[in-house]
């Protein structure tokens, strides 16, 4: 019988922390995200945890998709990497679509 007041976890903790910190590759079968992977293969980068990660994928997108399908067919679990926007990358046009063909002010309506 093992009796101890506390069990210190050294390496396990370090490995667990490292895994939690690991940048989620959107083309990795275990963290596959189709939209982000496709953009990363085409654009040579993706963003994770606020950082821009440069990539050098050797294959085209269908290859990674097939890898992902094989992985899930074998019962592999997937936690899709989140779609993130790279710092300094600005997107526009997210407001204004509804008002494209209207005035947006209210002059009347009574």
């Amino acid at each position: 019988m093992k009796k101890s007041a506390s069990v210190a976890l050294g390496l396990v903790t370090v490995l667990a922390a490292a895994r939690a910190q690991r940048v989620a590759d959107p083309c990795d079968p275990a963290t596959f995200n189709a939209k982000v992977c496709k953009a990363a293969v085409g654009g040579g980068a993706y963003c994770s945890r606020g950082a821009r990660i440069a990539t050098n994928y050797s294959q085209s997108y269908p290859y990674y998709y097939d890898q992902y399908r094989s992985y899930t067919a074998q019962g592999g679990a997937v936690i899709a990497s989140p779609a993130e926007l790279c710092p300094g990358h600005l997107i526009h046009g997210g407001f204004g679509a509804t008002g494209l063909h209207h005035g947006a002010g209210s002059r009347a309506g009574s």
Partner: protein
């Protein structure tokens, strides 16, 4: 209150255009004016001040009783509304539309609390008309001075004492925000201006087109559209101070009318209003909760059935007692929403009992 036929000024088109009203067409009409007595002005001013206070209580009631679904407000807007109501961020202005003929008390038709226009013509253009036609005359109109004073009072809330102004690329909306920008600059603030579709998102902040994170933004763009658009998912994730604030969504919604009637039944400045069905009303107006510019409005009464076209109504309707309305509506302006915010009026006229965005603006003077 009486309507007086008048001779338009020579070259009136260039006069109103010089004041910024570039879309005058048949909209600006100085072939007549309205003359109001001091009693008329008192009635409009006191009704507007009272309605402003009542609508704040109605907003609190809507929040306390979670009336969001009934008012057609989507789930993602609720935390924005509640957080802004608690934080009390600044608001600038609003316009109560009132049925009024000088005989009975003013009756509230609706409250344009989020994106009211016809501001420039009420604040500036009709004042210039008065100076030309009745140089020693007066008007119920201190809108311009009150806007400047309001910006000065808001200065401490605006990061860097700076405001960015946004609207769609449209003559009227663009000129309205240009005018508001002018009043902000006269109040000592700095300002920028760009189309609403050029607002950017950098993953953490809403940004000006060049990438500068936004501080305070006056947007002439309805909240009910913003929360449903692509960037709606980012609202509340950054520190942008939006004006008008999100809680104004409750007041610009026609659903506030039945809420007011429930809280203040038979109030002299209210018309009976109900959600979804007319109840015992025999003469009523059906309005979409999120309707704009008189679209999809149905009028029903003895010998009267009228309907306007449009694209609203899927969100639900309210029914409101038909006002004993001539064919004119008073747009009664408030600046701020605290004590006694009423500060002036504009008068709109229509051939039809439904006032739409093409209904004429008629200047006024006080007797």
């Amino acid at each position: 209150m009486r309507r007086v036929v008048s001779t338009p000024r020579d070259h009136w088109q260039s006069r109103v255009e010089a004041a910024g009203l570039t879309w005058y067409g048949s909209y600006w009409d100085e072939s007549a004016f309205y003359e109001l007595t001091a009693a008329d002005v008192d009635a409009l001013e006191s009704a507007t001040n009272e309605l402003a206070a009542m609508t704040l209580r109605a907003a609190q009631h809507a929040i306390d009783n979670k009336l969001y679904a009934q008012m057609g407000i989507p789930a993602n807007a609720i935390p924005l509304i509640e957080a802004s109501w608690e934080a009390e961020p600044p608001s600038l202005y609003g316009r109560f539309d009132l049925a009024f003929d000088g005989a009975g008390p003013p009756k509230l038709l609706e409250y344009n609390a989020d994106t009211p226009t016809s501001l420039l013509e009420a604040s500036v253009v009709q004042w210039y008309w008065l100076q030309d036609v009745f140089p020693s005359g007066d008007q119920f109109n201190s809108i311009h001075e009150r806007l400047i004073a309001r910006w000065q009072a808001l200065r401490e809330y605006l990061p860097g004492a700076h405001v960015d102004f946004c609207s769609i690329d449209d003559a009227e909306d663009g000129m309205t925000v240009t005018y508001l920008r002018d009043t902000a600059e006269q109040a000592g603030l700095t300002a920028g201006m760009f189309p609403v579709d050029e607002i950017g998102w950098d993953g953490a902040n809403f940004c000006a087109p060049g990438g500068r994170p936004l501080g305070a933004v006056f947007k002439l763009y309805p909240w009910e559209w913003m929360v449903r658009e692509e960037f709606g998912a980012h609202l509340g994730r950054d520190r942008t101070l939006w004006m008008e604030p999100p809680w104004k969504m409750l007041l610009s919604n026609k659903g506030i009318l039945p809420v007011l009637w429930e809280l203040y039944p038979n109030h002299p400045n209210l018309l009976e209003a109900r959600f979804n069905e007319p109840g015992a009303m025999t003469a009523w107006v059906r309005k979409p909760l999120l309707g704009r510019e008189g679209a999809n409005v149905t009028l029903h009464g003895p010998g009267l059935d009228l309907e306007t076209e449009g694209e609203y109504g899927a969100e639900g309707f309210i029914f409101q007692e038909l006002a004993p309305l001539g064919h004119c509506v008073i747009g009664s302006w408030v600046v701020g929403h605290e004590e006694d915010p009423a500060c002036g009026i504009g008068v709109r006229e229509s051939e039809s009992p439904i006032i739409t965005n093409t209904s004429r603006f008629i200047p006024h003077r006080t007797a």
